[in-house]
Amino acid sequence: MKYVDEFRDGQLAQGLARAIAAEALPDRRYNFMEFCGGHTHAISRYGVPDLLPSNVRMIHGPGCPVCVLPIGRIDLAIMLALEKGVILCTYADTLRVPASGRLSLMRAKARGGDIRMVYSVTDAIKIARDNPNKEVVFFAIGFETTTPPTAEAIRQADSEGMKNFSVLCCHVLTPSAIINILESPEVRVLGTVPLDGFVGPAHVSTVIGSRPYEFFAEEYRKPVVIAGFEPLDVMQAILMLIRQVNEGRAEVENEFTRAVTPDGNLKAQKLVSEVFELRRTFEWRGLGEVPYSALKIRGQYAQLDAERRFNLEYKPVPDNKSCECGAILRGLKKPIDCKLFGTVCTPEDPMGSCMVSSEGACAAHYSYGRYKDAEVTL
């Protein structure tokens, strides 16, 4: 696959590494957050930190759809499967996310819940068609990338008059989460988290475009460089961020021009706004309640909204007290700062959500970066 290799070329990477080392000023530190789990994964998977000078640090942001799912939402899904007897369709990553009472969707499945792993919402629709006598619920999670397919499915189910299909909507929005981080006292007032800029999302931006980031680049004086998910994209974005910082600029730049335009995908945006509206507030794991940060299904499609259809009531559940996911998602702490890391909490038996998906900060560090901790203690 030539296309992919072009973006992973070791020699180009070395060249970029030299440019970064040459342009990063030795007497200052650069702290950049990659918002997206996809970037976190690429950075860890390809060993990007090895190619960066020691004064350039990457902070893993909250852009991993599984990591930000609060316990209360998983509890709702489990309840639907175990108590309401629905067929619950979900993406594979959510299966192992720890929920209340030491349950997870995987464990609920072992207790007899009919929980099925799907690759897309289309699979869920098919399951609903094949099981006309069962209620089928699609557990919809993810950022702006996964929202349009869910919207399309809801519209389709509506026009077909499907009677047994509904969606438990947990779609969240990227810009509000970034603003929440920038607004947090640690960043704004105390400056305990020095944040010098963002590597902006790749796939999300193909949908929403680069314009939504302009507000906070300007308002919070933080440069944003939108980058593709390939490791060379990330390196290039880091170089562009360093240049902005050095020149005192705070602009939205686009490294990912091969896919992202200023306006994004207008058709997809229109579809989404037809089916969804903003929630007043939504709980994020790690960030807490974030105003206007998620979507709910419009009243017009109420019968396709699992929350209304089954009269679900959301109950927030606090995380394990020792879990530092919240601080890690905000860049306040690193995975090794958590007492549970690698002992009580491992990818086999995750305590917090950052340990579940390979895009989560704790799991990425556990699977790919742990050798570095050892080098320090030796």
Partner: protein, 350 residues
Amino acid sequence: MSAEIKKGYIRPLDLRNGRVDMSHGSGGRAMVQLITDLFSKHFANDYLSQGNDGTLLPEAKGRIVVSTDSHVVSPLFFPGGDIGCLSVHGTVNDVAVMGATPLYLTAGFILEEGFPLKDLARIVESMAKAAKEAGVTIVAGDTKVVEQGNGDGVFITTTGLGFLPDGDELSGDRVRPGDVVLLSGTLGDHGVAIMSQRENLSFDTPILSDTAALNGLVATMLASGANLKVMRDPTRGGLAATVNEISHQSGVGIHLDEANIPVRAEVEAACELLGLDPLNIANEGKLIAICAKEDSDLLLAAMRSHPLGERSAIIGQAVEDPNCFVQIRTRFGGRRMVDWLSGEQLPRIC
């Protein structure tokens, strides 16, 4: 017509439209018929026809190596193979990578009620062919039938027996810092062949499973005289799991070089699509070998001289590391750990 005394008539096994039913496992005539008309017919050999509860094997020289493996692959037929040949190759390879010569296999079948006899015949024929090619004899077998819904068509458990000449045995705890890691060919072919079938992915060039018996390749490697420490076939869990097992057994770290690990372009593309890592994917016709550094070129040449080892490569080296970490230098130029996979390897969603 004059009255004629008819012999007890049993309708022959309907291999075209027949299906497995509960009577095929009940110990009655139907079971005997299934065994004689299908299993004995294809596996035919003197040991199997002894007809006793156990099989008596001749005296043999050397220490005995034994290995057993249950096969539950879905789909049962996949590009490049099927559960039949896979169940032979898997066990032959487990015995062979111990440095032993595999000679005998036993086979246990769990059949699901309703399974088409036509498919069963295909599987049995494929097993017989694979065993013949690998030079092993199927000397004992067993069949059970479970009710519909309690199995997935066919499960096959095979046990292999082989003999190991005197001398140093190969073992996962013999690796020392400096030893060199070799791989016999491309990674991920089997797992991706299966997964692309399940996910209905189609490629310009279909990806075939690499399922194959490795005892010939192993014999060539042993004959080279290289100072081998351990061999292992990276099946479930892929290369990542195998190398981690060895590093922990031997108490060393292992450093791999991604640029030297052969992966087919189609497999790479499929992994990209499914969010998988070739290092974690199962192989059924590959082995890794670790040998003393000074013998690595000799061993590499021997491996490449065998058709199943043409794309062999040196992929890494053992190092001193009390944490027994496996690390890889990525093609991109960075470094990372290679860990066991947690849970199932699941495609990422975003």
